[in-house]
């Protein structure tokens, strides 16, 4: 028998590790499964919240962009309508670029009283310059200018998005009863907005009307809600902006692209809450690991004691426990990221509803980021969980 006092050779760690870990896994699968499930749930929640958070904000941004179109300056009276005469006063500004009046309102179909549509009343011909939309007629045929001209004089015409029409089985030509300012009015669906530009904004909860029709329907005859300009020259726009600010100090003069930033600021508190929530879920996962490892250490005090008498060092024991929890964490976190991606759409709905209730209508477009962040999440999750192992080990 070789009794050579061994030269400082390190243990056959691989063999020992697999033997112990697999044997424990075999003999007490419940602890492993519970731990992995705990980690997976915590990470899944975090990933789902983050994914849907980003998706909500991204498509919210897109909506704002689509609705603003090319307009790069706008004037509105904070929340109220203003007299149409303002348009005449500002007619001169047409020299610098396009000037587009807008009436805005909200309505819901009588059959779906909670599903509000944001209605933009615009000059349909001119507005095609500013905003990106296509109008489709029966059987999705693109409407020509002649078609539009024919439809225009109708005082009760409305254009819904294709997405909305499909979801509510609405056909072109159909008459629909809407609740507008607590009254029921019947509007005719003159056409559908194709699935691009404005037709994609706000998750389809948007309608276009001719400005005159909108004024009538929303009881805003002789009134406007907003003026949009498209000013090609930057210098012109800046001059106009400061002129308007001097002339109309009580009005809101802004660049539509800024509107997104403002709302985002508004939403940042909400975002922070979600982030905190997702961190809590990860901490819960970490606590589960801590707990599981504490149990493992307690249950293995004897085992560890025996291994110590056989010459395993304290450091090697810690390494062993870390390796085991790394394995648990890795499996749990990978499962969690996959599960989180599955859960994201449901969370997105909840977040969308909440934002809608709290702030303003927001699209529920499912545009989830890909799993490119996954590696980062996995690293993050595994690190947190390893940190939770060190105290018990």
């Amino acid at each position: 028998m070789a009794s050579t006092p061994s030269v400082n050779k390190s243990p056959n760690f691989k063999e020992l590790f697999w033997r112990f870990t697999l044997r424990h896994l075999q003999d007490e699968p419940a602890r492993f499964i519970l731990t992995i499930a705990g980690i997976a749930l915590g990470i899944a929640l975090m990933v789902a919240i983050q994914l849907s958070n980003e998706a909500a904000l991204t498509s919210f941004h897109d909506s704002i962009d689509a609705m603003a179109g090319k307009a790069n300056l706008s004037l509105s009276s904070t929340g109220n309508s203003f007299p149409e005469s303002l348009l005449k006063d500002l007619a001169d500004t047409r020299k610098q670029g396009e000037l587009l009046p807008v009436v805005q309102g909200k309505m819901a179909p009588q059959d779906y009283p909670k599903e509000f549509l944001t209605v933009l009343g615009v000059d349909l011909f001119k507005d095609k310059e500013a905003r990106d939309f296509q109008v489709l007629g029966v059987q999705d045929k693109l409407l020509t200018v002649q078609d539009l001209l024919r439809l225009l004089p109708q005082p009760d015409g409305v254009f819904l998005t294709q997405k909305y029409a499909k979801a509510h089985s609405i056909l072109v030509g159909q008459k629909i009863r809407f609740i507008i300012n607590d009254q029921i009015q019947t509007l005719t669906v003159n056409g559908l907005l194709g699935n691009s530009g404005i037709g994609q904004a706000m998750d389809g909860s948007l309608a276009l009307m001719d400005i005159a029709a909108a004024q009538k329907v929303f009881n805003k005859i002789g009134k406007l809600d907003r003026l949009d300009w498209i000013i090609p020259q930057k210098a012109d726009r800046e001059t106009l902006e400061s002129q308007l600010q001097k002339l109309y100090p009580t009005y809101k003069i802004e660049r539509p692209s800024r509107r997104g930033e403002q709302v985002e600021k508004m939403l940042s508190a909400f975002k922070a809450n979600l982030l905190a929530l997702s961190l809590v879920s990860v901490l819960v996962g970490a606590f589960l690991v801590y707990n599981s490892m504490s149990i493992a250490v307690v249950r293995r005090v004897e085992e560890i004691g025996i291994l110590r008498t056989l010459g395993i060092t304290q450091k090697q024991i810690v390494r062993w426990m870390l390796a085991e929890s790394f394995l648990l964490a890795l499996v749990g976190v990978v499962l969690g990221v996959l599960l989180g991606k599955l859960m994201a759409y449901d969370v997105l709905k909840v977040i969308g509803k909440t934002i809608q209730n709290l702030y303003l209508p927001i699209p529920l477009e499912q545009r989830l980021p890909s799993l490119t962040h996954a590696v980062g999440w996995i690293l993050f999750g595994v690190l947190i969980i390893l940190a939770a192992t060190i105290p018990p080990a």
């Binding site: 020992l16 008498t309 056989l310």
Partner: protein, 230 residues
Amino acid sequence: MALLLDVKNLSKIYPAGSENVQAVKGVNFHVEEGQITSVMGPSGCGKSTLLHLLGGMQSPTAGEIWLSGKALHGQNDEALSQYRQSTIGFVFQFFHLLPHLDAVENTELPLLIQGLSASDARDKARDVLDRVGLGTKEKRRPSQLSGGEQQRVAIARALVHGPKLLLADEPTGNLDMATGKAILDLIRKVSNQQNCAVLMATHSREASEWGDMVIMMRDGQVHGIYPVRK
């Protein structure tokens, strides 16, 4: 015979509340290579503590331990672990086998800890299991073995890596008379084969007379060291 173990003025004090427990008080003795020595004394006299000190599982409060001319006192965990890996074998009253591993897996643990490959370790472990008479039961887990058989596995594990000193703490304390006697004979046979010294703690007079020397302990002190008359 060459000197293996030299213990000088060894003391261990356990801090226990306001009054400290002095478990080992100024103990002196030595053990030759391959010598079989019993440490005899009533329960609580400090036998286990002494064995733990010699195995580097605890650090002495005072005194010196020399093994083959190397100091054990004042060493760090790394060095003491290395020492246990290479030089020491342990056998306990309650066997202390790992319940999740079978007989041969338990036996080869010290070799894997030393860094041997799985197949080399398996070959050596089988050899030793054969020598303790358990060759046919290598696939059984501890719960499927009798007390005597478990202790045989423990002896195989304690000797598989060729230690110079086997520390046995009441190895027959949990066995009936006949089985206990067989275990003692086995320890003597196998340790003689590889020239391994044995230090066995026991509170039974019969058991103590099985070795070459007896160290009498009481209240943490050595009261006398006698050769066993054969």
